[in-house]
Structures are given as C-alpha cells and as structure tokens.
Symmetry: D2
Subunit: 309 residues, 4 copies
C-alpha cells in the first residue's frame, strides 16, 4: 500500500478516463443538463493543509445534495438532540424518493440526506434565524467558514430553474406540513433549499470544506471548532449509512468511507483523522450518484489500503 | 317487502335515533367541527318527481366529496374517453389517502372519487373552461341545473378554512404536477376544488339532483339530458366500486347500491330506474362515511327489498 | 335493444373472431400452456332453464378462480357473519398479488377472490368438514348440486402441476399461518385448493351452475335453495367489486355485471332476476382476465341494454 | 480517554444494572421466553489474545442472528462476487420484516442480515455442500474454527421450537422460491437455518470468534486466514449498515462500530485493527436488539474514545 497520494491520484485519473463516457448527466433542469460529460477532478487535503489534486480541480460545479451535509452539521450544532424529534438517522431503503415512507411514518423523514429530511433541516434553520433570507445568509456563511473562503456563492439561474421544476419537493414539504412537521411557509423554505443546493464549488474547495469532519469537528489548520467531536462522528455515521440514497450500502461495501454525493456529479468523503477528499465527474449511475466518482473513490481506498473497516 | 316509502322512512328515522350518538363529526376544520351531531334527514325522489322525506330534510349541509360525482359527470360529458388518460376507474384499496399509490402509479389517480382523482377532474374542467373562475361558475351551474334550483351556492367560510388546512391536497396536486398530470396552477385548482366541496345542499335538494343518474343521464321530470345513458351507467359503476373510499366493498356488500358519501355527513344513492336517495347524519365512522347514514341505507334496501344485485 | 339472445350471441361470436388472436394463454403450468388460443364459447341460461350458446360450449376447460365463487358461497352458508373475522369484502386495489397488503393487514385477506382469501375460505371448509379429503368431496358435491350434474370433476394432472409451481400460494398460506389466520396444515389446504381450481367445466355447465346466484340463491328450475337471498346478493356484490382482481373497477365500468374470471379463460356473470352467463376464450389480458371474454360480455350488455346500473 | 479495559468494563457493568430491567426477552418460542431477564456479560479480545470480561461471560446463550455473520463470511469466501446475484448489501429500511420489499424486488433480499437474506445464504451453502446435513456440519465447523473451540454446538430444543413457529420464514423461503431465488427444498434449508441460529455461545466465545473480522479476515493468534482482507472489510461494512435491522442507522450513529445483534440478547462488534467485543443482555428494545447491550457498547465507545468515525 502506498501513501504517495499524487501518484495514486494520477493513476486513478488515467484509469478512469474510459469510465467518464458511462452514465448520464442530470437532465431534469436545463442548467444541469448542459454540463459537459467528460470532466473529472479529484482533490484531497491532509491535516496540515497539504493538498493533492488531478483534473479540473478548480472548476466549480453545482454541489447540490452535498449541501445537505453542511446544513445538517450546522443545524445539529444548534439543535443538538432536539433534531431527532423532526428527522431520523436511519437509511430509507427506498428507491421511491421517500414520499411513500414519509406518509407511513407520519411526516418524519428517515434521515437528513433524503430530500424530505434536508427540507426539514432547512426549515429548522429558517425557524432558528427567524427569516428565510437571514437563514440563507447563515448557511452560505457556514460554508464559507468551513472552506476558509469568502467567495463561495450560489448560482441563481440553477436555483430558479430548480424552483420551476420543483413540484416533487413542494409535494414533500406540503405533506410534512400536513403532519405538522414543517414550521415555515412551504415556498420560502423550498426556495431557500434550492439556493443552498445551487452553491457552486470546486473539488479543491470541497475537500478543504470537509476537513473539519475528518478531524472531529475542528478545522486542524486554523483550529476553529465548528461542531463537537461527538457531532462530527455522528455526521460521518449518517454519511456512511445514508450518504448515497438507495446505494448507501453498496457504497459502504465497495468504498468503505463516510461520503455524500450530489446530483451535480460531486462526491465528498472523509478518512477520519487522516484526510478529506472530493471528486467530480458529472455522469451519474442509475442511483443518481457520480459513476466515475464512485469508482475513483473505490480505487483510492484499494490503492492506499485506507478504509474505516 | 313494502313500497310505502313514507312509512319505511319513518321506521328508519325511529330506529336510527340511538345510532346518531355514535361516530365522530369531521373536525379537521372549525367550520365542520361545529356541526351538531344528532341530526338526521333522508329524502327520496321518484321518476315522476314525487318525493318523500324525514328529519331535517331542508337543512343545508356541506356536500364535500358528493361534489365529486357532479364534476366527474360533467367532465365525462366533455372529455368522454379522454378522461381515462388522466384518471382511472379502479378502487384504490388503500387506507392511506393514496399518496403512496399515486407515486407508484406515476401520478395517475386510481379513480375520480379519491382526492387526487377529483383534483385532476377539477383541473380538467379548469383547462376546458380556460379559467378557474369560469370553471367554478360552470360547476355551480351544472349542480343548479341537475337540481333545478338556481339558489345552490357554496359556503365561502368553509372553503377558506379548507384552504388553510389543505396541505395534503396541495401535496397530492404537486405530486401529480411532478408527473405532468396537472395542467393549471396548483393553488388555483385546489382553491376551486375546495369551493366545489363547500357547496351546501339539503337532502331534498341532493335527492332531486341525483335523479338524472337514476334515469340514464336524463332528468325524467323535465327531460333534460345531462349525460348519455352509457355515461350515466358508468358514473353509477364508479360510485359502486369507489364511492366510499376504502369501505366501498363493505358498502356494496351491505347496502348494494351505487352511492357516494361526503365528510359533511351526506350520502347520495340511486336505485337505477326507480329512485334517487339522499341521507344526512354528520357523525362519521372510521372510514369517514356517515355512520347512521350508511345504516339507514342498509335498512332501506332491506325493508324495500330493492338492490341492484 | 334486443332480446333475441341467440342472434345476439351469434353476432358477438362473429365480431369477436379477430380478438381471439390477442392476449396470452396462461403459461405458468404446462397443462394450461398447451390450451389452444383461438377457442370461444358463450352460454346463457334463463329462469325457466332455456339456454342459448355459441362456439365450443360443451368443451370443458379449467375453471380455476371461478371455483372461488362456489367455495365462498358454500362457506358463507356455513359460517354466515363469522366469515368476516377471517376474510374481508373489500377490493384489494393491489397489482402485486397481495402479499404486501396481507402483511400490512395482519394476515386478513382483503376479499375471498384474491388467492389469499380463497385459501382461507378453503381452510375454513377443511376445518368445518374436519378433513381435507372430505372437504374436497363436499366442494365437488356443492358444484355438482348447483350444476345439477353429477359428472363434474377435477383434472388431477392440472392440480399436480399447480402444486409443483405453487410456491407463491405456499408463501401466502404460511404468512397467514404466522398471523394465526390459518387453521390446518398448509400443504393439505393448498393441495385441496389446487384441486378445486382444477375442476373442469364447459360454458354450458358453468352458466347452469351460476343460475342460483341470478335468482336469490335458489335454483329456479328445481327450487333447491343453496344459500339465502341475502347471501346471494352479497356474493354478487363481491363479484362486482372484486371479481376481476385489479381490473374489477374497469370491468364494472365497461360491462356492469357481477362476474368472476378464471385464468383458464372462463368468465361467469349474472344479470339478477334475468339470467346467468358463461364465456370462454383462453387468451388473457394483462390483468389475467380473458381478453375476448371480457369484450364479449361488454358487447352483450351493450346489445341487450341489460346492466345492473 | 482510557485504555484500562477491565476498569471500563467494570464501570459499564455497574452503570448498566438499572437498565437490565428495561425491555422484553424474546418470547416467540418457549425456549427463549424462559431466559432470565437480568443477566449481563461483556467480553473483549485483543490482537494478542488478551481478553477482558465482566458478568456471566461463560454463560452460553442462543446466538440467533449473530450466526448470519458467520454464514455470510463463509459463503462470501466460497462464492465471492457471485453472492450478489442472489442477495444485496443494502439496508432494507423496512420495519415490516421485509416480505413487502422482497416482493417488490423480485425475490432478491436486500442484505444477508435480514431473514430472507440469511435464508438465501444458507440455501447457497446447502447447494455448495450438496446436502443439508453436510452444510450444517460445515457451518458448525466454521464457527468452531474461528472460535478455536471444538465444543461449540446448537441447542436442538430451540431449533425444534423455532421450526414449530417458523411460518413467516417458510413464507419468505417459498416467496423466494416462486422467484427462482431458492435452490433446495424449502423445509430442508429452513431447518438448517434454525439449527445455525440455535448455536449457543458465551460472550467469551463470541468475542474470540469475531477476532478474525477485527484483523482483516485472519486470526491474529494462530494466523489462520478464514477470508481475505477485502472480504473482511466488506463483512464489517454490511454489519455497520445492516447489522441492527431497522435500527442500524441509530446504532451506527450512537455506537459507531460494525456490529450484529441476535434476538437471544447478544451483540458482537469489532473495532478494526484493535479488538473484537461481545455483549449479552437478553431484554430487547422495540427493534429486537438487546437494550442494555446497545447501551453498554455506546458507553464503551464513549469511555474509550474508540470509533471508526
């Protein structure tokens, strides 16, 4: 097993080329459909800030569901155990986008990484900050803080386009509201949610942003503590069991790292106490996770021998 | 078996008194929750217009889901076989208010008498009349026509109250919109739907209004044909298989008549070629159908020996 | 509308020819798979015993699920209201062969015409007659009685073949047993059930056998009362709401008669107080009901104007 | 954080006493129902074989579903990637014992730790060893090998009692057979499965048996390799995502270790590269996992600071 990370990233970059043709770029909104398929980037950041990367690692893309990790961490720090009254931490095991389960389970989403759960988390942040504009600002500021990067922002066109096609999310939010698990105006929260999903970041930025989750909630470079060590372990646990929708078990089985994917083609992962990783390859497999990104991470754990198991 | 209908109605009226205490008045909106429990009315109308009644048969109440029969008949007459592209005619067999099934079946509601189906029917009427205000007027006019009664109208307070608690219907409509089975703005259609449900009628008026369905789509008194004989049979068939939500089989089994209930406590029924019937008793059984109303109709078919089977 | 039944049958026979090519013969067991596709027969029997028929109306075929009507009538007569403790009368609304629903609803089948329900009915008959051999004899004797035909028997090869492929029925029975809704040994009851399904009859025989259900439970020719008038209406009600699996609503909508189909290609129907009907055409539609048989019955109600609605 | 394991175990033992009264001993078979509630044992084994324990750590109990870890490891070693044709590695997310999901997903169980999945694994072992007696012997020998203990055996009374109440497992197996995902006779495999579940072991024995999974598939004491390092990681990954039925997410969240529970009150866990652990406390929480055992493991990871995240 090797720890020459740059060499390993380059080997993966070479091996992954043919895989970039496979899968399908998300096409449910025009702004995502136009993303070029054959792109790849991978970045990792170590405790001391040293980082390695290959491919278009400065290219920004839509982080989409990766944002759910950030808002969950932020809300967990605010609400602590009160979170669990409104959202669970159990894999959903459900390929049907969870409307079914949400109904059977009285409007309490299975976990914060399915859409229903993430909407509740955003609703909780809107409640806490008492206003949806303020809540969005605080969400963006949290992401800027963990990234040590004030430039991070969302793509207004993507957010607008999401809203125009967001009927299923509106259905989820209204269903939760009918079960009294939604405090604020449905439209306000859903729009805030779409803006948070529309944040654009590069793999270099994402890998930096995830560093605090690899090191017990505290940024090892500037020593800022964003969440407690216990909360950090729990965010990682939820990433492992629920981070890849209905392919979370497969991902844990083949990759063996806490990680979260986004429909924009990104995946972030952590190797506790060692490093944070981000990968980007926009073509998705049938579960909605980056095809080549998943493979790249599997190769990475194989070549380095690193894994949590 | 007797055909002295007045005597039979009076017998039922007497026998039903104790049953009026059982069940629960709908309480999901204040305007319905305040309805007095121990009320009862039953009316029937024969081919020549002769009618019989007992109880508070001039007392108006909220017809709620009974309105679905009228809008379905109206839309069937407009769209004919094109109806089935957007809504089925199959019992749902589902106690869970059908969000589950709607998702599995790609946004096509099982039948026009579950909420999702009725929302699609109203959406079709809004599309046909090109405007939600016009559509509502046409719906009201259709009900006035079949009732031969220009005074029929909806209760604005009930409609407003429904809208304030209508998150589940908004969820259903948004879910159908995500499957491209909803043409107009969700809020516009849902509000039109709540207004149609808020129409108030007495059992005398409802029994008169249903007469055309007992006589092949044509009002036997004034000879107006509202729908074709074939369409009339089909509306009756859907009432029989789907008229009482997840207790439709029970109702067919015990009463044996095409009928439709509403959460306001009303039930309408037809005995083809003989008569139309309406009953009112606001306390509901666990399926959301009038408890005493169902029993009254069962007694009626037992005492008269009338049944379609 | 005409009542020259022979003429109507011949018209249908002619018109249906092209439809016989459509659909697919049941092929889950070899004994059924070898049935020739392009066969058709239709028979009807009036109150006085007069009967009309076209096609191969003396050709025996496997009645399969039509047998469920006979065992349900037989058990209802024995158990009366105690039936409902073990099986409901509600349409299942479920295309998935009901294992799902059976689990959610604690082992109580929705109705006696889905497989789970019919297995419970046979289990009840085995309990009542205290032995599976005796129960089978009583089932056969009941069918012989209502048919006025001592020759009726089952096809042992079909029954054996069913048993060899009957894992899903064994799953259903074991699941019910785990919920304490199955009294006898699973294998014994399932085998009895497969034998009852393997009874062979012609449309002439079936139409004669169904006559008692068209006339309030009493055979109008020999005046034998097999079940009460009230029970007869109820069997008809269940045929209407549940007789065609997940296409029962469609069938009620298009044909408008209480009827029951079998996977062998038969359908039986009654027009209360007028006649009983049987049709045979082995190729099935996607719901497992005879394609041409359904159409033939729809034509019959259209041409005669007869319907219960 | 401390590594004085004996002291930590004793602290946990003291703190857990009151918790032993909570929950309910499994009572679906008499042989388990008679187990005394207030028992507790906890054992851990380090790389060099050093072990620590508290409570009745030599008391044998029924390992039940813990056996699924052993048969899965054994079958994975035989079948390698061919496993996945017959069983997945995805959390089921389903509180309903998975009959529902098994039907929707065509007889392929979600993972090897739900009953359906474990039955398929045993079926695969019966196929491989060509006989159910031989398969059982090989299963027992595998457990004896990893435990370095030839005395380990199953409790025939428990196995017999399971078979007499095993209708749901028979339903699962028959359902899978109907989908062609079951090769051998249902009764043979189910009986073999019940015998494997009826193996009795103490926490000292279980902690020793799990050591190979803490050290990459190889027993660090005698250097026997039972499975490959990659297979070992994968067994651990499945324990983490699926080891506690529908509370696997909760367990990962609160305890943070790959672990598997059994309805007999045992839980086994590993801390990769450090140790294996076994705990016993027979009263179960509502998910069917040992109540005090789960808490004891949570305390252990808190007091030691050990976790995979």
């Amino acid at each position: 097993m090797s720890t020459d990370y740059q060499k390993i990233l380059e080997r993966i970059y070479k091996e992954i080329q043919l895989e970039l043709k496979k899968g399908k770029v998300a096409d449910y909104i025009p702004a995502l459909a136009k993303v070029k398929k054959e792109q790849f980037a991978m970045s990792l950041t170590l405790k001391d800030g040293t980082s390695y990367s290959v491919g278009c690692s400065d290219k920004k893309f839509s982080i989409q569901s990766i944002s759910k990790v950030f808002t969950f961490a932020q809300a967990l720090n605010i609400y602590s155990k009160d979170m669990y009254k409104r959202v669970g931490v159990e894999p959903s095991g459900n390929p049907f986008n969870s409307l079914v389960q949400l109904e059977y389970e009285n409007g309490i989403p299975r976990n914060p990484f399915i859409n229903a759960g993430a909407l509740v988390v955003t609703d909780m942040l809107v409640s806490h900050y008492k206003d949806n504009y303020k809540a969005l600002e605080k969400i963006l500021n949290f992401i800027r803080d963990i990234s040590s990067n004030l430039e991070i922002d969302f793509d207004a066109e993507v957010a607008k386009s999401e809203m125009e096609h967001g009927y299923r999310n509106l259905a989820l939010a209204n269903l939760m509201k009918s079960f009294n698990n939604f405090d604020n105006r449905v439209d306000d929260v859903v729009l805030t949610y779409f803006k948070q999903c529309a944040v654009t970041m590069s793999t270099n930025e994402l890998s930096r942003a995830m560093l605090f989750l690899a090191f017990g909630g505290k940024d090892p470079i500037n020593n800022k503590e964003f969440i407690t060590a216990s909360q950090s372990k729990r965010v990682n646990a939820v990433m492992l069991t629920c981070g890849h929708y209905d392919a979370s078990g497969e991902f844990a089985y083949h990759v063996g790292l806490p990680a979260k994917s986004g429909v924009g083609g990104g995946i972030v992962a952590v190797i506790p106490n060692i490093m944070s990783i981000a990968v980007f390859a926009p073509a998705l497999n049938k579960y909605g996770n980056s095809h080549a990104g998943t493979l790249a991470l599997e190769k990475f754990t194989t070549y380095t021998g690193l894994s949590i198991f």
